[in-house]
């Protein structure tokens, strides 16, 4: 039994079915990636989990308790929502103090040290922050809550390369020190692939795959070389993506690469490399 369980959860918005009988099990203290295209149902799932909306059918359990209208369950989780829920005119430092009222384990000193590392002035008004700093502000609050479950929704929206790097490092440093259950919802897959333990792929309200990232990466590979040789190699295989450059061709193949495939590729003078998770994702969600 998992820490978080979605049991046959469906959600309708009028005629539109946003989630269709989603069943899902998440274990404690793993880093999960919730991956899906725009409108796939990622946020709907997280909104149900965090009691922002109710499921039409089914239920979500946390430690065997229904999460809906359950304060005890809700204080176990912190959701960095896309929306800004802080009062108009509140300053960053005040927001830290305010969050501590609701999450007593909020680490104020840690939040301030993160603010300094990211160059976020705690005297600034939340409403006056740029897109990037608004994300940073929410990331810092989420990291500092010390809730057993922390949920990031598109955490790196508007962050520059240095700040993204810093975020990943701080998240992993925190996680290494005190493991938490982390859920990262994003469509920027290759960026987060290496920090995830498991990936959940959602498509049109349906969970189509839940697997350790390592296993997922081994379910596809890329073969490249001279066009006719690549075609010969790929003839009886499932090609999910291909690119041409003159007579040079590379084909991404869905399936595991066994020694049989390696030998064939070698005899045809073809190069085998790993396929990026993003390509696999595009194929699976198209």
């Amino acid at each position: 039994m998992g820490l978080i369980e979605f049991q046959n959860v469906s959600k309708n918005y009028g005629q539109v079915q946003a989630l269709t009988q989603v069943s899902l099990n998440l274990e404690a203290n793993k880093i999960y990636g919730l991956l899906g295209r725009n409108g796939a149902g990622k946020t709907t799932m997280l909104n149900i989990l965090t009691n922002k909306i109710f499921p039409t059918v089914g239920q979500v359990l946390l430690n065997c308790e229904n999460v809906t209208e359950n304060d005890n369950a809700q204080t176990q989780m912190f959701y960095m929502s896309e929306m800004n829920l802080y009062p108009e005119g509140m300053r960053v430092g005040q927001a830290f103090r305010w969050t501590k009222e609701f999450y007593p384990n909020f680490a104020t000193d840690y939040a301030h040290s993160l603010a300094q590392k990211f160059g976020l002035s705690t005297k600034k008004k939340v409403k006056a922050l740029s897109t990037g700093y608004n994300s940073i502000f929410k990331l810092i609050i989420t990291l500092a809550t010390n809730a057993p479950i922390i949920i990031f929704d598109e955490p790196i929206l508007g962050l520059d390369a240095n700040h993204r790097d810093l975020f990943y490092k701080e998240l992993l440093a925190k996680y290494n020190e005190t493991p938490q259950t982390v859920i990262i919802s994003t469509h920027l897959i290759d960026e987060v692939a290496d920090i995830l333990e498991e990936a959940i792929i959602i498509k049109s309200g349906d969970i189509i795959l839940q697997q350790p990232v390592e296993q997922m990466l081994q379910s596809a590979y890329t073969v490249s070389g001279e066009e006719s040789k690549v075609d010969e190699f790929a003839a009886d295989k499932k090609v999910i993506h291909q690119e041409m450059l003159g007579r040079f061709k590379s084909a991404t193949i869905y399936g595991e690469c066994h020694s049989e495939e390696r030998e064939l590729a070698a005899s045809l003078n073809l190069d085998i490399t790993s396929a990026p998770l993003q390509k696999l994702f595009i194929y699976l969600t198209n």
Partner: protein, 139 residues
């Protein structure tokens, strides 16, 4: 991850073409690449026997990889008797590790390097004598 992939063992950089034959380094899971990178540093004498290797936490944070992946890579080396755990302190290089790694890699040297060397030489019409004189010249 860019840092780490640039830091790949020298063998893939100097023999770019051999990957299509026997070395599927770039296609290897991350944890295996990590284990190999640590082995490389032991071979080069950067991690000396009986000295401490970076912890899984350090590896995880610096290379931005999941700690479970980092631990898997290190455990691979523990199983092979290349590093060992000192409880509460960290991971250390076993004495004799360097010899062990060298022996393991010697056994695949022919397949990994010589075969691809000859393959490339064939493409460039470099004959065996030319190769031999190049090797002698480089000494």
């Amino acid at each position: 991850m860019v840092n780490y992939r640039c830091n790949e063992p020298l063998n893939t950089l100097s023999f770019g073409c051999e990957r299509m034959l026997f070395d599927f380094n770039s296609e290897k899971p991350l944890y295996m690449q990590l284990a190999e990178a640590i082995e490389d540093n032991i071979l080069k004498g950067i991690f000396v026997e009986e000295s401490q290797v970076p912890s899984t936490t350090e590896v995880s944070v610096n290379y931005k990889i999941n700690p479970a992946t980092a631990a898997k890579g290190v455990n691979l080396l523990v199983e092979e008797g290349i590093v060992y755990k000192k409880r509460g302190i960290g991971m250390f290089v076993c004495s004799g590790a360097k010899g062990k790694i060298a022996a393991k890699r010697r056994s695949t040297f022919y397949e990994k390097y010589i075969v691809s060397l000859l393959e490339e030489a064939k493409k460039l019409s470099i004959d065996k004598n030319d190769i031999i004189s190049m090797i002698e010249g480089s000494n």
